[in-house]
């Protein structure tokens, strides 16, 4: 079987649910990329500025809302009323597995953010070494973004492999 045939077969095997999840995953990765890029390119003054930080968060929020609406419109345009169809039992189970991993990451992020103050007080956290102001907030945003990516990626993986009982 040639590569083009394999690719064609893969495209035919993709369900509309997988397409939706893939687009949501791409959007989440892109938003995470914008956030990380803005942080790495920022100067020390910008990182310490509340107004710059609120502008960045507003930008991330705007991007996520606009991209989600655009992806929904695109999917509604190419779908044959498939967006309105409810998930079947297996898809709901896979959805719950995705939520489970997302919850783990969010809980971990919240715990790290809470203990960050204590870590800073003891003088051995990355906030002291790299001088990152508002680090607990960045940890929370990062855990949310990683949680979103994991949520979509886990659903795609479980849906494709079929092993949902492990």
């Amino acid at each position: 079987m040639t590569r083009s045939q394999q690719f064609k077969e893969l495209l035919q095997s993709i369900s509309f649910r997988e397409l939706t999840l893939s687009i949501d995953l791409l959007v989440s990765v892109y938003i995470s990329f914008i956030y990380v890029q803005s942080l790495t390119n920022a100067t020390a003054e910008q990182l310490a500025s509340v107004s710059w930080l609120s502008a960045l968060l507003l930008e991330v929020l705007t991007y996520s809302v606009v991209l989600m609406i655009l992806s929904y419109l695109l999917l509604a345009f190419i779908s044959d009323d498939e967006l309105k169809q409810p998930l079947d039992v297996r898809e709901k189970q896979i959805n719950l597995i995705g939520y489970k991993y997302k919850a783990y990451i969010l809980q971990t992020g919240i715990c790290i953010a809470i203990f960050q103050y204590q870590i800073e007080a003891n003088g051995w956290g990355p906030a002291i070494e790299y001088n990152i102001p508002y680090l607990p907030m960045h940890v929370l945003v990062a855990s949310f973004l990683i949680g979103e990516i994991t949520y979509y990626a886990a659903q795609l993986y479980k849906g494709r492999t079929g092993n949902i009982y492990e």
């Binding site: 369900s15 997988e18 079947d88 297996r90 079929g162």
Partner: protein, 75 residues
């Protein structure tokens, strides 16, 4: 060591039912084609409702479509 698992004869029954496609079966029972694929490959055990729907599509009792049997696993 033997473990028990749910197996099924859906692939054979589809073939005998005028070579019914996975998509046709999925539409008849109200699930996605991916779910039918997972059930056929014994990677997913359907709910009782879906199992009864599959059996009714083929016009057979449940035990002729799904079996609960021991599978030998060597350690």
């Amino acid at each position: 060591m033997s473990e028990y698992a749910i197996t099924n004869s859906i692939r054979t029954l589809r073939f005998l039912q005028n070579e019914m496609t996975q998509k046709q079966l999925a539409e008849a029972i109200g699930v996605t084609r991916q779910t039918v694929m997972a059930i056929e490959a014994n990677k997913y055990s359907p709910s009782l409702e879906v199992a009864f729907k599959i059996a009714s599509v083929f016009g057979l009792p449940l035990e002729e479509v799904f079996q609960y049997r021991a599978i030998n696993k060597s350690n």
